[in-house]
């Protein structure tokens, strides 16, 4: 499969958009007309062509622009990529996983040739052709985790498993929904989820942790998470909140369809073979409301979900200021008709 990569930005003039094909393959996260937390984990297995599950590590039309945006974030703030000293082996595990998945899924764009420990990696969209020794960090321009995650869409957290818990001891985080890797680095599973309302009391994190501790190698799992973002900004970090916070006041009835984006995270979980760590890719997909409403089922359902969202979740997700405007906008696309089960367009 050959992808045509869009030239677009996720900052300043914000000229990001989805093609018609991109809209159809968007991972709409709601399988019913209302939303509440659930562990909602399922096996991460390949799905139909034309969906984001065509390949287990998805590359789409935004790949090159997202990697350029990541490089800009890292140039301003190198602490977005960190790896505690005991995590280097897990970094090599991740490098292998991503190179194998990218080369297998997109042979027109990526190529991996191995001769013992001497590997050659070709990334055509980014113009990279490097030869290195697997396991020898000095033969790469960055540590193994940073090297490969500068070439893969989505954030990546690497979780060390010890003492019956998971510890966020490494990561590359530049497309986050308002959380800081630098602050959360070294925390355990319960600690880094501490600010999330409701879910602790519901036992969601106890169940999720237990599940993840037993994750098997070669059996990746996945779930969705979501929020909404004003402007197609990938880097909504606590660090840069003063830059993007004022945007939340910029939404009007005239611009809401273009300004407000549904932000969906495809989270997957993979056991790594050498380190026994877990890598947790958090892949962010953005869609403008005016793009989303071109799929009638999604328009109806998005309206109902957003209208009926509990107030504490509205606040936690940062939707408070402009939600009424977005609900009004979506209401015009909701005729009250029943929606079909599942996430896919009719």
């Amino acid at each position: 499969m050959t992808i045509t990569f869009r030239r677009e930005t996720f900052r300043d003039d914000y000229n990001f958009s989805n093609s018609a094909v991109g809209i159809r393959r968007f991972p709409f996260p709601f399988d019913r007309d209302h939303y509440m937390y659930a562990v909602n984990i399922e096996p991460h297995v390949k799905g139909h062509p034309g969906t984001i599950y065509e390949s287990l590590i998805d590359v789409d039309e935004h790949y090159v622009a997202e990697m350029q945006d990541r490089a800009l974030v890292l140039a301003e703030d190198p602490l977005r990529s960190q790896s505690l000293p005991h995590m280097e082996l897990a970094g090599w595990d991740l490098l292998e996983l991503l190179m194998e998945q990218l080369a297998a899924g997109y042979p027109a764009h990526f190529e991996l040739r191995r001769s013992g420990k001497r590997w050659r990696w070709v990334n055509r969209p980014l113009g990279i052709d490097d030869t290195f020794v697997f396991g020898a960090a000095s033969t790469l321009p960055y540590g193994p985790m940073e090297y490969i995650t500068r070439q893969a869409q989505g954030d990546f957290c690497i979780l060390d498993q010890r003492d019956g818990n998971l510890w966020m001891d490494a990561g590359m985080v530049t497309t986050q929904a308002d959380w800081s890797l630098d602050f959360d680095l070294g925390m355990n599973f319960m600690e880094w989820h501490a600010p999330v309302p409701r879910a602790h009391e519901m036992g969601v994190f106890d169940r999720a942790l237990k599940f993840m501790l037993n994750l098997g190698q070669g059996q990746p799992m996945r779930r969705f998470n979501w929020t909404m973002t004003v402007n197609p900004r990938l880097d909504t970090s606590p660090e840069t909140y003063p830059k993007w916070g004022p945007d939340r006041r910029s939404v009007t009835a005239d611009n809401v369809g273009d300004k407000v984006h549904l932000r969906v995270e495809l989270q997957s979980f993979w056991r790594l073979p050498r380190s026994n760590a877990i890598v947790f890719p958090i892949r962010c997909y953005l869609i403008k409301l005016e793009e989303l409403v071109t799929v009638p089922k999604w328009a109806r359902r998005m309206h109902r979900v957003l209208r009926d969202l509990p107030p504490d979740l509205v606040d936690y997700k940062g939707l408070t200021r402009w939600r009424p405007i977005a609900v009004d906008y979506l209401a015009a696309f909701d005729d009250g008709a029943a929606t079909s089960p599942g996430i896919w367009p009719d």
């Binding site: 602490l79 800081s180 630098d182 602050f183 959360d184 680095l185 070294g186 925390m187 319960m190 600690e191 880094w192 989820h193 501490a194 600010p195 602790h200 606590p238 660090e239 840069t240 909140y241 003063p242 916070g245 004022p246 939340r248 006041r249 200021r321």
Partner: protein, 199 residues
Amino acid sequence: MPETSIKSRPVYGTLAPQPGTRHILLADGDGAAAIVDLARAAPPEFFERAHIITAPAAGAMAVRAPLRALAPAVLDETDRLAAALSRLAEVLAGAGMGTRLYVAGTEGTIGQAMQVALDAGVELGAIATEHRGSRARRVQCAHCKTFIDEVTTQPVACSGCGLMLFVRDHYSRRLAAFQGVCVDAEEPGSAPTPEEVFT
């Protein structure tokens, strides 16, 4: 106004003698009384294996005299937390198996002593803590990463970048700090007047 307590918020206990071959105790001026209280329950040989490091305000004899009376094997008296922490790092570097660490004082003292101990490879479970004194917090600005000591107000002005920060309950042991996030980012200039809440 503060967030209700969350799972990254540290929880402190009460110092009590633990079985161990060596006991390292660190206290600031507020925490010294917790060591004195611990002594009441300690077996006679406890302080023969004890190394006390103190960081009270300079010249605070009222704090020092009761600790001297415990006759620990070693008593390191400093008058600054930074000095006490570097002494702690040295002592931990030479500490063997069976060493127990006890820390008492303000949240800032406990957090920074734990940071030193964890960096030295001490297991979390081998550190006992007791909060004494003010509830002043050590805060890291999420934006310019400056650490602000002895924060008593909500919100607080960052001493690095000047932004008004909401002090969250979200806490990092690695950084020994609570997270401070700009309180009026969405509407600059709308920050509420700081109130004394961490006292």
